[in-house]
């Protein structure tokens, strides 16, 4: 795993609203500005023949480490496709993607799966959680899928993340018993549990009311600013994008 995992701040006990800036965080902050992920000349076309829809028409993008970046654009602008390519969920037709020093376009399906498991966390608009698992089980799922033993340390970490995100008292409940905001916060906790290099959020507030949206966006921003987590959010909502450090705007498959 890249970076010194033991030096990360998550292990230093529960998150406090006013953090004592420790050395590790300072180091992470110092790294801000370096690149977490880079895309060059990305192209992607859907459909065949007459119904060909170019979703990406040559996208170059650098995502700064430890920052909160928003990719914004109207629907059909290719922002979701770009995110899928950056996250290793889909393959571009042309161009390259590198995340944490790994060239994604050269990986086969299994390697790509393992890459996602180890380096990327996801928060989607909906269908974030598996309905038959409890919140706690959902949070621990990426570790289980990675074949890791879920030990007490992992459980403790899940509990801690749940506490930071304010869902500690809902851990035994299934998704159907959680509100939309609670579901999204459980999803953020799940995305953070593996200490990913990149956290992708795809319209994370699309199904939420404005108060809950604010709360979720705040959590995402603090993950970047206070915990040094690189966060990429895809949204069509200008207000949501305003929470980000950078805003990349897309239109018709290009960055504008």
């Amino acid at each position: 795993m890249p970076g010194d995992a033991t030096a990360r701040p998550y292990e230093r006990g529960p998150y406090r609203p006013v953090p004592q800036v420790d050395t590790a965080t300072a180091v992470r902050r110092a790294e801000q500005g370096t690149v977490a992920a880079a895309a060059r000349g990305l192209t992607k076309t859907y459909g065949l023949g007459d119904v060909r829809v170019p979703a990406l028409r040559g996208v170059d993008l650098d995502l700064p480490r430890g920052r909160f970046t928003a990719i914004m654009g109207p629907s059909g602008s290719g922002k979701s496709t770009l995110m899928h390519c950056l996250a290793g969920l889909d393959r571009p037709d042309g161009g390259t993607v590198a995340v944490a020093g790994i060239e994604l376009t050269s990986l086969d399906d299994d390697a790509l799966t393992i890459f996602r498991r180890e380096h990327v966390g996801f928060v989607f608009q909906a269908f974030n959680l598996l309905p038959m698992l409890t919140a706690a089980e959902n949070i621990l799922l990426p570790l289980e899928l990675g074949g890791q033993r879920v030990d007490d340390a992992a459980r403790e970490r899940a509990r801690m993340l749940a506490e930071i995100l304010g869902v500690a008292d809902r851990l035994g409940h299934r998704p159907a018993e959680l509100s939309g905001g609670q579901q999204q916060r459980v999803a953020i906790a799940r995305a953070l549990i593996t200490r990913p290099d990149l956290l992708f959020a795809d319209e994370p507030t699309g199904n939420l009311d404005s108060a809950t949206s604010t709360e979720v966006l705040d959590h995402l921003r603090r993950s970047a600013h206070e915990l040094g987590q690189t966060v990429v959010m895809v949204t069509h909502d200008r207000d949501a994008a305003a929470y980000a450090d950078h805003v990349v705007t897309m239109r018709d498959g290009r960055i504008v």
């Binding site: 996602r116 989607f124 269908f127 598996l130 899928l145 299934r174």
Partner: protein
């Protein structure tokens, strides 16, 4: 709504495939039964009609079967017409073949005119003059009669010697006899003759009193009704199995529609939104079910007819003796099969449709109405299900204690119904039991399998029905078989016995017996030739402490008390002239002993005594019998013949007990395999159901699978998850079904078999049960292959944007 109906049929066609296959299989089953029954019926008519094939008229009694024509009248009638008539019938007469006396043998006529000879020649030639006879092949085989043998038919003044010149088949049961002689020869026993019908060519003229003339076809129809009952009862039995298959298919189809409609609930709500009435939606949905049912039933009928005729061709090839011919397709069966398929499909769609009708138009506007993650199981339902289960237990217990078959059937039915109703509570819990076994993917699989209790339970129920019936049948038959084996083992302890009432059996004979193919073990039995008061001629007396080596009953028959002589009463055709318990004097040379007679059977003409009794009778016992245990699968007729060739030169005789074993063995295995094969159809349909449920669930879970793949589950991992889900489902249903099936078999044993055969033990056929469990579970795994492949093909990005 027609547009909607056609469009949804088109769109969802692929999702109906499994339902179509399930229904088509059940319908095909019914049609196959119909084709086979019709084929058997046609074959019977053909065989029945064989003696009248070239007749223009058949003369038979007016009030058949209650009245007869007088033989003298029939004989006079037939004589008058000469070559234009053939009287059919037989006389029951004593017959001597070699040293054997057969008290009642059927002796019938064989015509010298080619057109009236309905008996196909097997070997040799037809009998054409007095003093000649042809024998039925089966009779010849059973009584060691071969071409060239001399038979004495009748007794006293009416006795006549004939020479066997040929062997024939006797395909027509009513006209069947053991031995056929020419008409003039047969008239020798005219006072014993019974003539049921006369085949006539041309005009009949004056009929014999009490006779009527009809066409051969009409005559065959009349006679068929008697035999027809057999065919019909077999048909009814087969229909029972078809009924099981149809029931399982109904369960599968209900589940299919329930899942399909749940997935399309939002479409229905949208239809209601844009103005479709409840009735319109219901009609469209029911039409869809009817269309699926019609297609499936027609496909099933065509497949069934093809399979039926294929089977008849195969039967003709493998066992040409089996009376089945390809007959015209029976319309009532075809129509019945199609109707059953259609009705079952439409009925199965009825209750899922009701749920569709309850959907409110607003559901279309809510974001997430797709099949809820969990359908709860009401406590009321659980409580309701416990009732029949408990009542079933009580009834079964009562049945076992009181040996009441009706109680047992009612109890079994109630218990099974209870288990099916309890399914949604029971099955998910059972599935979660081995949860830790397969790691995280296994946990996911178990949670997935148990997430929708009703769906899971219904899927399992279909399999449960098939497996329970199969394992119950297997266990029941194994127990019955073991009881019969034991029973018959007591009656026929020795497969083949070579007994010599003359000189001792030399070591070379024993050696050659042992080297005969089909002989597993053979022992020489020491004894001496004795004179027994009350028996004619020399009679060997033997002692066989080593009988256990070859006996089917573990040698129990040969353990005789001192002072007793055990005699095989069945070795004497008309009884030995002794009674059990009687005292006889047994004399060997100068020595003698008074012994009490005990009766037994299965080792031929020799008396079995205790070793010390034998020692008292002779100082130098020599082998006077060789007892043989045949190897499994040995042909009894051939083995008997081979040993006979060894026995003949030394004047010994062969007692062949293996024949009884073999025919029993064959009947039971045919029965077991047929029952298994018939029940397997139900299991196959249930497995289609497993694949179906899984396939449809996979469609429902595209997003979840995409999420799992995004979070780092590999393709292989996803496939494994689904495979384990299918495995858990089928293994749970199979194991539960096996437990129930063995339980039912045990209560059947306690209720039915034990009161009849006290010493019979309950026999669990572990290897067969293991094979059923393994095969069904693995087939369940197989059922996951297609759904799993389809699920794993979807890329995470495509799955996440799937709608």
């Amino acid at each position: 709504m027609r547009t909607v109906f056609l469009a949804s049929l088109r769109t969802h066609l692929r999702r109906h495939v499994a339902a179509v296959v399930a229904v088509a299989t059940a319908v095909a089953f019914v049609v196959v039964v119909g084709v086979l029954t019709a084929g058997a019926r046609a074959a019977l008519i053909e065989r029945l009609g064989a003696p009248y094939r070239n007749a223009d008229l058949v003369v038979s009694p007016v009030g058949w079967p209650a009245s007869h024509m007088k033989p003298e009248d029939v004989i006079a009638f037939a004589e008058r017409l000469g070559e234009n008539a053939s009287a059919i019938g037989r006389a029951s007469l004593p017959l001597r073949a070699g040293g054997r006396r057969i008290p009642e043998a059927g002796v019938g006529p064989i015509s010298t005119v080619e057109r009236w000879r309905w008996q196909p020649l097997e070997s040799g030639r037809f009998a054409v003059r007095g003093g000649e006879a042809v024998a039925d092949v089966h009779f010849a085989l059973a009584n060691d009669v071969s071409i060239g043998d001399r038979l004495v038919i009748g007794e006293g003044a009416a006795a006549a010697a004939v020479r066997v010149v040929g062997l024939v088949e006797s395909p027509s049961p009513p006209a069947q006899a053991d031995v056929y002689v020419t008409w003039p020869q047969l008239l020798r026993w005219r006072d014993r003759l019974h003539l049921g019908s006369v085949a006539v060519r041309g005009e009949a003229g004056t009929l014999p009193p009490g006779g009527k003339a009809q066409s051969p076809e009409a005559f065959a129809e009349e006679r068929l009704t008697a035999v027809q009952n057999q065919v019909d009862s077999v048909g009814v039995m087969l229909l029972l199995f078809a009924g099981v298959a149809v029931f399982v298919a109904a369960v599968v189809v209900t589940n299919t529609f329930a899942i399909l409609f749940a997935q399309r609930l939002r479409d229905f709500a949208l239809l209601r939104c844009v103005g479709a009435t409840r009735r319109q939606v219901a009609r469209s949905v029911r039409l869809e079910a009817a269309a699926v049912g019609t297609f499936a039933s027609l496909a099933g009928a065509v497949a069934g007819a093809a399979l039926g005729y294929g089977l008849i061709a195969a039967i003709d090839l493998v066992a040409p003796d089996t009376p089945v011919v390809a007959a015209a397709p029976p319309p009532s069966w075809l129509l019945g099969g199609v109707a059953v398929g259609l009705v079952v499909t439409v009925a199965a769609a009825w209750s899922p449709t009701r749920r569709v009708l309850r959907v409110s138009p607003l559901a279309a506007l809510r974001p997430d109405v797709a099949a809820g993650p969990r359908t709860g199981v009401g406590r009321a339902r659980a409580a309701l299900a416990v009732l029949p289960a408990a009542a079933g237990f009580a009834l079964l217990a009562a049945a076992v204690m009181q040996h009441g078959v009706a109680l047992m059937l009612a109890g079994g039915g109630a218990l099974f119904a209870g288990v099916l109703l309890l399914g949604p509570v029971l099955v998910p819990r059972l599935i979660r039991l081995p949860i830790g076994l397969f790691g995280p993917t296994g946990r996911l699989a178990a949670e997935n399998a148990a997430r929708n209790p009703r769906r899971t339970a219904t899927t399992a129920a279909a399999l449960l029905v098939g497996v329970t019936l199969t394992t119950a049948a297997l266990t029941g038959m194994a127990t019955w078989r073991a009881a019969l084996d034991e029973h018959i083992g007591g009656r026929h302890p020795i497969d083949l016995a070579l007994t010599s009432a003359k000189g001792p059996v030399g070591a070379d004979v024993l050696d050659r017996v042992r080297r005969t193919p089909g002989v597993e073990r053979a022992i020489a039995v020491p004894g001496a030739v004795a004179r027994v008061s009350g028996l004619d001629g020399p009679f060997p007396v033997v002692a066989a402490p080593a009988a256990a080596e070859v006996a089917r009953d573990g040698g129990a028959f040969a353990q005789v008390e001192p002072g007793t002589i055990k005699i095989d009463f069945e070795a004497f055709r008309s009884g030995p002239g002794l009674r059990p318990g009687e005292q006889v004097t047994v004399r060997v040379g100068e020595r003698q002993a008074r012994l009490r007679v005990a009766a037994g059977s299965g080792w031929g003409p020799a008396g079995v005594v205790a070793p010390q009794t034998l020692a008292a009778l002779t100082g130098t016992p020599e082998p006077h019998a060789v007892w043989v245990r045949a190897a499994p699968g040995a042909d009894p007729a051939r083995l008997g013949g081979d040993l006979d060739e060894l026995a003949d030169p030394i004047g010994a005789t062969i007692e062949n007990g293996l024949r009884t074993w073999e025919s029993l063995d064959r009947q039971l295995s045919v029965l077991s395999w047929s029952v298994l094969g018939l029940l397997a159809v139900a299991i196959v349909i249930a497995l289609i159901g497993v694949a179906n449920t899984l396939g449809l669930s996979v469609l429902e879970r595209v997003r979840e699978h995409a999420l799992l793949r995004a979070l780092g589950l590999t393709r292989a991992g996803l496939r494994r998850t689904l495979a384990i889900e299918a495995l858990l489902l089928s293994a749970t249903a199979t194991l539960l079904g096996t437990v129930l099936g063995v339980g039912f078999a045990w209560s059947g044993y306690e209720t039915v078999i034990r009161p009849a055969l006290r010493e019979a033990a309950f026999h669990i056929p572990w290897p067969s049960l293991g094979a059923v469990v393994l095969a069904t579970t693995l087939a369940g795994l197989l059922a996951a292959v297609l759904p799993a492949r389809r699920a794993a093909r979807v890329t995470p990005a495509a799955g996440l944007s799937f709608d």
